[in-house]
């Protein structure tokens, strides 16, 4: 469709929403749009009005158009902020037991820049994995004993050993991972997804963020920008589901009114708004009424969602007793499954205790224990419910850790930041199962096969959702911005 016709059509808001499959909102490519979910025409007026006001892919219960058939309907992203060590978890290096204690050769380091924390170190002795590796499942996936529950999902996950990034410090690295840019100012992955696809739920936001309570004394900070919308309309920012106080900010009436009273009050407000609309004719008023209605629905749907008392004991067996403690990683993994069931599009969990510049052997063990069971349980749970096939789960940090020791001695040491290679895993949503992608050298320092850049990961993520990462754009400052900037290749070889 020509932009001109397109514009004329949009002049009439209602007509636009009643309009058909050609509504390629926010996407530069109009030619290969397909539709998923229920037809736009089935939406009630209120939702239409919200969708119009808040941009494409917003109307609750109204999924936006896609470019090709998606393999994933939703994403659960288990972000391991602080950066777990690939050497001690997913990148098996039998050679390191021989190289243990030896100085990293210059030929391997190759003059790469180091952080300000170890650039003054004169020696870089290699440290082998703190836990033995074994093969698991039919696939024979190598996983260390640090994550015993992961052994059970060896055949479900696709381990990527060849991730790399550009930043060497936490703030720029995690900002890069979540927004495609090291400096603040770009929308997060979830915001892009909300913008492009919206929510399938009629009473929950498209993009929900869960923060694990932190237990490590040197925890990484988080930043609202990691779930922010930047130049996208601000309704696409992630909504935090909190483990303390109101699960969604300002959800409860502090004057103690019942829902019935709230209902009455909203009816009164709606009638007043309607009278005023008749006077002034501003359609924004209808949108406001619709927003209040959805807020009301959230007041019942969110407490239901966070009330895990209806979960059977088997759930807690699977996720572990931690799952009964709000704010733990296991509890958040369980909530993620419940959110996924309700049609939330993008669920982001942040754990942030992995940054171990000293005392890594004991601290990594502690954090691994906090994370292991919940993460693995989520995959098993989704699988048992038949949801893994259309849910993409991603697990990983913002970079890796160095093979060489930072300070300490052979038994007690730290590992510094390492952007040149690290490991993550993906599961479900059309990703190969029991698969391993990429390879690093004997020192676990450089990638030797199939490097996968952060932009490649994000391109692949959008691809599973049915979105061409080059076509999901938003014009800002004269430029059509996208999550992957001018980079990113879909990694076809990990697609099932």
């Amino acid at each position: 469709m020509h932009p001109f016709d397109d514009y004329c059509q949009r002049q009439n808001r209602r007509q636009f929403l009643g309009a058909s499959s050609r509504v390629g909102i926010g996407m530069a490519a109009f030619y290969s749009l397909m539709r998923s979910g229920k037809p736009l025409t089935a939406m009630d007026d209120q939702q239409k009005s919200l969708a119009i006001s808040n941009g494409p892919g917003y109307g609750p219960g109204n999924p936006g158009p896609v470019h090709f058939p998606p393999t994933a309907k939703r994403v659960i992203y288990l972000c391991q902020s602080g950066a777990p060590s690939q050497i001690d978890t997913f990148d098996y290096k039998p050679t390191l037991s021989k190289l243990n204690g030896q100085n990293l050769p210059d030929s391997i380091r190759n003059g790469q820049r180091l952080t300000g924390m170890t650039s003054g170190q004169t020696k870089f002795p290699a440290a082998q994995s703190i836990a033995p590796f074994r093969q698991h499942g039919k696939s024979g996936q190598w996983i260390s004993d640090l994550l015993p529950h992961h052994h059970k999902i060896a055949d479900d996950i696709c381990v990527i050993n060849s991730m790399y990034t550009e930043a060497i410090n936490h703030d720029p690295a995690i900002t890069f991972f979540q927004t495609g840019h090291q400096q603040p100012g770009r929308p997060s992955i979830g915001a892009w997804t909300s913008y492009g696809l919206g929510s399938e739920s009629e009473n929950l936001p498209a993009y929900v963020v869960l923060l694990d309570k932190n237990s490590d004394p040197e925890a990484q900070p988080n930043y609202s920008r990691l779930w922010g919308s930047a130049f996208l309309p601000s309704n696409h920012q992630g909504v935090k589901l909190r483990s303390e106080g109101n699960p969604v900010l300002y959800l409860k009436d502090p004057t103690g009114g019942s829902l019935a009273q709230q209902r009455k009050m909203l009816d009164g407000i709606a009638r007043l708004n309607d009278l005023h609309k008749q006077q002034v004719g501003d359609p924004e008023i209808d949108t406001r009424v619709a927003a209040y209605e959805m807020a009301y629905r959230m007041q019942t749907s969110v407490p239901d969602l966070t009330d895990i008392s209806s979960e059977p004991e088997s759930t807690f067996k699977l996720y572990g007793d931690d799952a009964k403690q709000p704010g733990t990683h296991a509890a958040n993994c369980l909530l993620a499954r419940r959110l996924a069931e309700k049609g939330v599009r993008f669920i982001q969990i942040y754990h942030r205790g992995w940054d171990h510049h000293s005392g890594l052997p004991s601290r990594h063990r502690k954090i691994a224990k906090e994370v292991d069971q919940g993460s693995a349980a989520l995959v098993m749970d989704l699988k048992a419910r038949g949801m893994l096939e259309d849910t993409l789960v991603i697990w990983g940090g913002e970079f890796g850790r160095t093979v060489y020791r930072q300070g300490g001695n052979e038994s007690n040491f730290g590992r510094d930041h390492h952007p040149r290679c690290f490991s993550i895993w993906m599961a479900g949503g059309g990703i190969k199962q029991g698969y391993r992608h990429g390879e690093t050298d004997d020192w676990c320092y450089n990638i030797t096969r199939d490097p996968m850049h952060v932009h490649d990961l994000n391109a692949t993520l959008l691809h599973t959702l049915g979105i061409n990462h080059e076509a999901l754009t938003y014009r800002f400052q004269g430029r059509d911005y996208r999550l992957t900037d001018v980079h990113g290749k879909v990694v076809q070889s990990i697609l099932a």
């Binding site: 020509h2 001109f4 397109d6 514009y7 949009r10 808001r13 926010g26 490519a29 119009i52 006001s53 808040n54 820049r113 952080t115 300000g116 924390m117 060497i168 936490h170 703030d171 100012g185 309570k213 900070p221 988080n222 930043y223 609202s224 920008r225 309309p233 309704n235 909504v239 303390e244 109101n246 900010l249 300002y250 959800l251 502090p254 004057t255 103690g256 009273q261 009455k264 009050m265 009164g268 407000i269 007043l272 708004n273 009278l275 005023h276 002034v280 004719g281 501003d282 359609p283 406001r288 009424v289 927003a291 959805m294 807020a295 014009r475 800002f476 400052q477 004269g478 430029r479 059509d480």
Partner: protein, 1012 residues
């Protein structure tokens, strides 16, 4: 309107709309009609970026006529056969332009027609419209003078004529005063102000002008203007990266408020913001202004490479300055030549060179800075006034201070040293009596030891003093027998027996105090009744000194009794007191400041000490009223002290020797291209620094506001227009380049820009001109069909109707409830904030802190402009209403309408509390009936009277709530209990609670959030 903001390409269509409505006989205007098409579809590969087309070698440039001619793409004799037309209409996907894989739309039939027409007219190029210097256009002819208040209307009505439309009627006075009061001050008009205007018998424009003049001279005007500037200046109270810790840059913010309130001309404002430090006549205040370019985030992350971040700061300044003053997207040229605009990568780094000479670092780069007082400095004055007022109030109470002092002196303890008659060590140590009647323990040194000290009372004993004394014979010359010089007194027990045959009975100790206490080893642990390792310690290992502990007895021991004191040491490691002395007093000791102050002679007391003494005496002896005054006085004095401490503000400074600047390969800090050094300068297409003038930031600042510069006035005026009308004349207010939108009213924009410059950059004057136009004063009421014709109101056939900004919404609630603290300037404040938000994001011990929740009105009720802004956790209710994080420059906010906003309005305690106070105002309004009280509240919230139908809904809601609360008073109390500011002396709680619920309804109306 937010809907359309979403579509990046809408602007192209807008141009086509303009075009289509001109009719076939109109000639093609290159800038309006042709450039947008070429830029959007062709420039990516055939534009100013010589490195374009990554890999696909092409030299054809469509932004350059000579190049296009050279490649022979125009056939002037047969335009539709031109290569250009052939390629954009080709059915062959291999030769079709733009190529399908470019993600660019193909050209529409209308667009092809425009290009053909353009070629037929000779394919004339023009400089991009915004780079041409604005000329004052002739006013279009006006047929109906009733539609004409000033020049603005001529341009608008003239444009509407082409659409065959007429402007709307003038809005009613209620709507007008609401609109203009919000626009100029960010606050609603008061009921009194509304009524004064509505009842003003002067003709509308005369009465209106009085209102506008009043608003422009209000201090709230400067706050409102500053608020927008803070978004542009990415001002915040924290440093943004990593742990995002506090910075104090608010003195700079006060400078901005003051500049707007004193109507500093915008050219001077610009020069001082950018280069106030380099002015020959620079003062501390002009240096302070340059904080603008230091407001960017600064990292504290230990592992960073210093130069990487320093480079980011300089780039931030380039991006911010070029966006705010020039409306240019220089940021694109950081890594390569700009794809659309004539800004090369060299140009980027020439501009960069202006900002690269600050003597700063990347890591913890908080210097240079400057301690300068806020130009407002009102805080200090306010507190001084309050101190004076309270002093006066206190004086009126005629408190007998002198008598109290005499009384209290009698209470000072008179210590009598008790000679050690019998001292026993349970562990076998030997007590040795010293000359000063103290006891030194020698000999056996057990790990734990209990001492007994027995004496007979000669006079009554109300208090006992224990002196622990240092001695050269003890460990390291300390007062302890422990290996490190410290001791822990676990328990101090006093027992008494009345006769020789009686047994010792414990005496109750009322309180204990000491002149020094080690952290977590306080003296009260010696009377906690628990004989354990806890107790009183004094950091004796690091601070060996004489120490004193005093014990006041609950009831004095009469004379002639046998007393046994037990000093139990149960910590271990021989942490026993090594030398001590015991004294007794018949009067209980006063401890702390009062005693210290009394020890100072009257003649030697400072004013401070005299005040302190007086206040302590009032607290001790005064009436409740006097004590309250003193408590307040102490708070105010503390605030005054704080206010007179001025933080250092980060400012710009120039190094004597500028840093060399090179083009950075792909914009990366560690890849300077040594063969491509650059010196400070401007993109040639936009302008050049004055020859012979300063070739530095000052030269840049002067050029920005020189008459040789096409952008600053237009860009600035357009932002003002955007604020007032919701959308700018150029919708893309951040981009006046080729990809930006062509102005809806180009002549109007130029007229305003020239008017602005010729007025001497008089900001108040140009705002007055705009708000006094009939265009601005139109009614915003609209029929649905008209709405669909122009949803964004680009043709201005009606008045603006805009949702309030986040800050305005909160300020509105504070204002209508009568709670607003109108103080101007000062340190940022901490209003209501959900529990735990800061720590849930960032809780590293030693680095992070919790939100400092406040209870005092001074913190809770200030205008939102003063709210403490943490970049990584912006105030949530503000972020929900589209306020930016302030991590980077923003000149246009989105405007959404979401369920989370509903939750804020319904449940944020700030709003619920405001509703309670609005209810109180309704009750206090001296209105006779429930109906009239509710109507008063309605008017506070909407600036108009309710209709009968509206009033009925509200009164019914009130009655229902009242019935409920009458039977359930605890529910009323709960409804009234939200927030920290209480209403005392509520006569009828049920009534107030019911009205509070009505007030909540009013504050949740769409109309409350809108200026229409």
């Amino acid at each position: 309107m937010p809907f359309l903001k979403i579509f990046g390409f809408t602007f192209v269509c807008w141009v086509l709309i303009l075009r289509a409505s001109y009719g076939e006989d109109e000639t093609v205007d290159f800038n309006r009609d042709v450039r947008p098409i070429l830029s959007d579809r062709c420039f990516l590969c055939h534009g100013p970026d010589r490195a374009s087309a990554e890999g696909k070698a092409t030299d054809l440039r469509l932004d350059d006529r000579a190049s296009a001619i050279e490649f022979g793409i125009f056939d002037f004799d047969n335009p539709t056969k031109s290569e250009l037309i052939a390629r954009v209409t080709s059915a062959d996907l291999d030769s079709r332009m733009p190529p399908p894989d470019s993600q660019k739309h193909s050209l529409s039939g209308e667009e092809v027609k425009i290009l053909s027409l353009w070629i037929s007219e000779g394919a004339k190029y023009e400089k991009h419209w915004s780079y041409l210097f604005p000329q004052r256009p002739d006013l279009p002819e006006i047929k109906n003078p009733a539609n004409f208040f000033n020049a603005i209307d001529a341009f608008v009505v003239d444009r509407l004529k082409l659409e065959d439309r007429k402007p709307a009627g003038v809005a009613d006075r209620n709507a007008l005063i609401r609109r203009v009061t919000f626009d100029l001050t960010g606050l609603p008009p008061s009921v009194t102000e509304i009524e004064a205007f509505v009842n003003d018998e002067d003709p509308l424009r005369v009465a209106y002008e009085k209102v506008v003049d009043r608003l422009l001279s209000s201090t709230h005007y400067g706050e409102q203007m500053a608020r927008f500037w803070l978004d542009s200046a990415r001002y915040a109270d924290t440093s943004g990266y990593q742990y995002d810790r506090e910075r104090k840059q608010w003195v700079w913010r006060d400078w901005v408020i003051n500049a707007f309130n004193t109507n500093m001309p915008f050219d001077q404002f610009t020069i001082e913001q950018i280069a106030g430090d380099l002015l020959p006549e620079a003062t501390d205040q002009t240096r302070l202004a340059t904080g603008f370019n230091r407001n960017h985030p600064i990292t504290i992350e230990g592992g960073v490479v210093d130069e990487e971040y320093r480079t980011e700061y300089v780039i931030d300044r380039v991006v911010t300055t070029s966006t705010v003053w020039l409306g240019q997207t220089f940021t694109c040229a950081r890594c390569h030549d700009h794809k659309y605009d004539p800004v090369s990568q060299e140009d980027f780094y020439r501009f960069y060179a202006f900002f690269n000479n600050v003597p700063e670092r990347g890591l913890n780069g908080f210097t240079p800075n400057l301690v300068v007082a806020s130009p407002l400095d009102a805080a200090q004055e306010k507190w001084e006034n309050q101190v004076a007022k309270l002093e006066e109030k206190l004086a009126e109470l005629n408190t007998p201070i002198n008598q109290w002092e005499i009384d209290v002196r009698k209470q000072v303890a008179k210590w009598k040293i008790l000679p050690p008659v019998k001292v026993v060590s349970s562990g076998g140590a030997t007590p040795k009596t010293m000359e000063d009647q103290s006891v030194l323990m020698v000999g056996k040194n057990p790990t734990k030891d209990d001492y007994e000290f027995v004496f007979k009372t000669e006079q009554s004993v109300a208090a006992i003093r224990l002196e622990a004394m240092v001695d050269p014979a003890l460990v390291n010359g300390s007062a302890s027998r422990g290996f490190n010089g410290n001791y822990v007194l676990s328990e101090f027990v006093v027992e008494v027996k009345s006769g020789d045959d009686a047994s010792y009975e414990p005496v109750k100790i009322a309180s204990a105090s000491a002149d020094y206490e080690q952290n977590r080893f306080t003296v009260d642990l010696t009377i906690d009744g628990r004989v354990d390792a806890t107790g009183w310690a004094v950091d004796g290992n690091t601070r060996p000194d004489n120490r004193v502990a005093m014990y006041s007895l609950e009831t004095p021991i009469p004379p002639g009794m046998a007393v046994r004191i037990k000093m139990l040491h149960r910590y271990g490691s021989s942490h026993q007191i090594g030398r001590f002395r015991i004294s007794a007093s018949a009067t209980a000791p006063m401890v702390g400041p009062l005693e210290d102050l009394l020890a100072i002679d009257l003649a030697n007391r400072s004013v401070d000490q005299t005040n302190q003494l007086r206040e302590l005496l009032v607290i001790k002896f005064g009436s409740e009223e006097a004590r309250e005054i003193v408590k307040e006085l102490r708070f105010v004095r503390a605030e005054l002290k704080k206010a007179s401490i001025v933080p250092a503000t980060m400012v710009m400074q120039e190094m004597p020797q500028p840093r060399p600047v090179f083009v950075l390969e792909r914009g990366e800090y560690d890849k300077p291209i040594k063969e491509r050094p650059v010196s400070p300068g401007l993109p040639a297409a936009i302008g050049a620094l004055e020859v012979g003038g300063p070739q530095n930031r000052l030269g840049l600042a002067q050029w920005l506001v020189s008459s040789e510069q096409p952008l600053t006035a237009r860009v600035t005026i357009n932002r003002y227009w955007q604020r007032l009308f919701g959308v700018g004349i150029v919708k893309t207010s951040e981009d006046f380049g080729a990809q930006g939108e062509y102005p809806s009213h180009p002549d109007l924009l130029d007229w305003l820009a020239v008017e602005f410059m010729e007025s001497g950059w008089d900001v108040k004057a140009i705002l007055k001109t705009i708000v006094s136009s009939r265009t601005y004063m139109q009614s915003s009421r609209i029929a649905e069909s008209d709405y669909q014709w122009d949803p964004e109101n680009r043709f201005l056939a009606r008045g603006p109707r805009v949702r309030l900004d986040a800050e305005e919404i909160r300020d509105n609630a504070l204002a209508v409830s009568g709670l607003l603290d109108g103080k101007t300037g000062g340190a940022s404040v901490y209003p209501y904030h959900p529990q735990g938000l800061w720590m849930e994001v960032n809780n590293r011990p030693g680095y992070s802190r919790a939100y400092p929740h406040q209870t005092r009105a001074e913190q809770l009720l200030r205008r939102t402009l003063y709210t403490f802004w943490k970049r990584t956790v912006p105030p949530p209710s503000m972020a929900t209403f589209d306020a930016p994080s302030r991590e980077y420059c923003v000149v246009r906010r989105s405007s959404t309408n979401t369920p989370l906003q509903a939750l804020v309005m319904l449940h944020d305690p700030q709003f619920v509390e405001a509703a309670r106070f609005l209810a109180k105002r309704m009750l206090d309004s001296a209105q006779p009936s429930v109906e009239s009280r509710i109507a008063f509240g309605f008017k506070c919230c909407t600036s108009r009277d309710p209709t009968g139908a509206e009033l009925k809904i509200l009164v019914t809601a009130y009655q229902q709530r009242l019935d409920q609360y009458r039977t359930d008073l605890p529910a009323a109390d709960q409804a009234l209990g939200v927030g920290g500011i209480k209403i005392t002396a509520v006569v009828d709680r049920a009534e107030l609670a019911a009205l509070t619920q009505v007030a909540r309804m009013l504050m949740n109306l769409s109309e409350f959030l809108t200026k229409g």
